[in-house]
Amino acid sequence: MIELYHVWKQYQKPSWALSDITLQVKKAEFCFVTGPSGSGKTTLLKTLFRELYPTHGQIIIAGKNIQRIPSSKIYELRRQMGIVFQDFRLIFHKRVFENVGLPLEVVGLPRKELRRKVFNALRMVNLHHKIWEFPSGLSYGEQQRVAIARAVVNNPSIILADEPTGNLDTELAFEIIALFREINRQGATVIICTHDKEIIRRFADRAVFLHSGKLIGKETF
């Protein structure tokens, strides 16, 4: 499903944020990416939804080399994906409802169905009572859960989540990961970046370990 071949990424001259990453994630796999701060987890994820182009290397998703997709067609790739950003990326002048509904709105889903799906997604992250708030009226953990709800609202076949539980307490974090697990069981491929050893211990089928941009461990549990 997701294949990386010899992917290198350099932001600035001397150091490499990613060096020679080769990695396959199969369809419906549940994969964690872990590693210390600054090891390249976010960079790796960003290359997968083409926020960044790798400096060298190939990335094949669902059989397609994503670097070859013209930027006017990239939406086709992203509509299959649910992305949780490390900095949430919510639209602050839109309500929680509208933020979560965004991936449905861009495909033109009928209003009624959109409302049902948004409400369901928010209930899954335990935030349906804040549906008409603005993100600025939420705590950080609540904002993060809005971002998670937005990522899962359109039943994507790929979920890329960057540190989705960094601002959540342990119980809630477990619930969220269990939610991803559930979606994964229904057929979605899930990649989660996390620091939380506890979560990896409890949930991981497979975890890859990054250090200074290098893949130094592929463990299958």
Partner: protein, 278 residues
Amino acid sequence: MRNFFSLTIICLSFLIIGLFLSLSNNLQFLARQLSENLAVVFFLEKDLSPAARTNVLERIRSSPPVEQVRFVSPEDALKRFRERFPQLQDVVSDLGTNPFPASVEVVLKDKTASSPDTLQFMNSLRDFPGVEDVQFNRDWVEKMKSLSRLARAVGYFLGGILILASFFTISNVIRLNVFARRNEIEILRFVGATNTFIRMPFVIEGMALGILGSLLSLALIYGVIRVFPLYLGASLGALQDIVNFRFLTLGQSLSLVFGGALMGLLGSLSSLSRFLKI
């Protein structure tokens, strides 16, 4: 707040363009009035028969650059002379006879008043039988020509500067608007919006800003033109009839609004393009 600001700037830009257009309308009108006053005088031979005189008159009247013709008999000329130069009354009465020849005063069509065609035509008429002399103030014509040239040059120059400045301002305001919302654009792209979907609201916003701004400025110009003469009031004095403030023509108003919409459209599209890459 940012949109309010954009609207104000766009409105001010159009206000300035509009006021300028209206000023130039007024100037053009003034110039026309002045050139209507530009009369050419044909002095007729003294011993012309009435038939020949009618002939000459017809000949002049039917010439293309001529708008209006007035016959001035020697008696009229004398009366006018007396009115204009009261100190010379004695001189004329001493003469016993009327020294003035009959003349034909011609008002030229405004547009051709200072064209070389007209000048040439008039000179040719000098040799026409029955006409003794043609007089028209070459100096005056020259001045009118220069004035109209000056007005046009000022128009092109200042107008060009202002329109450029307004274009620059408006497209920058829209660029700023887009720039302020680049995060939103990015997010929309990440959730799978097509470029058309992203562009639409910006294009609508840009065009709405442009149209609203230009409409507002038209309203303001209209207000200024209505209020301004009242404010001048009696102080206008002798100029009251000349300075007749007029609004923009319908065509001008429409092209202002259309220009606003176009500018909004182009500004939005060009500012957006660079955020639709990643």
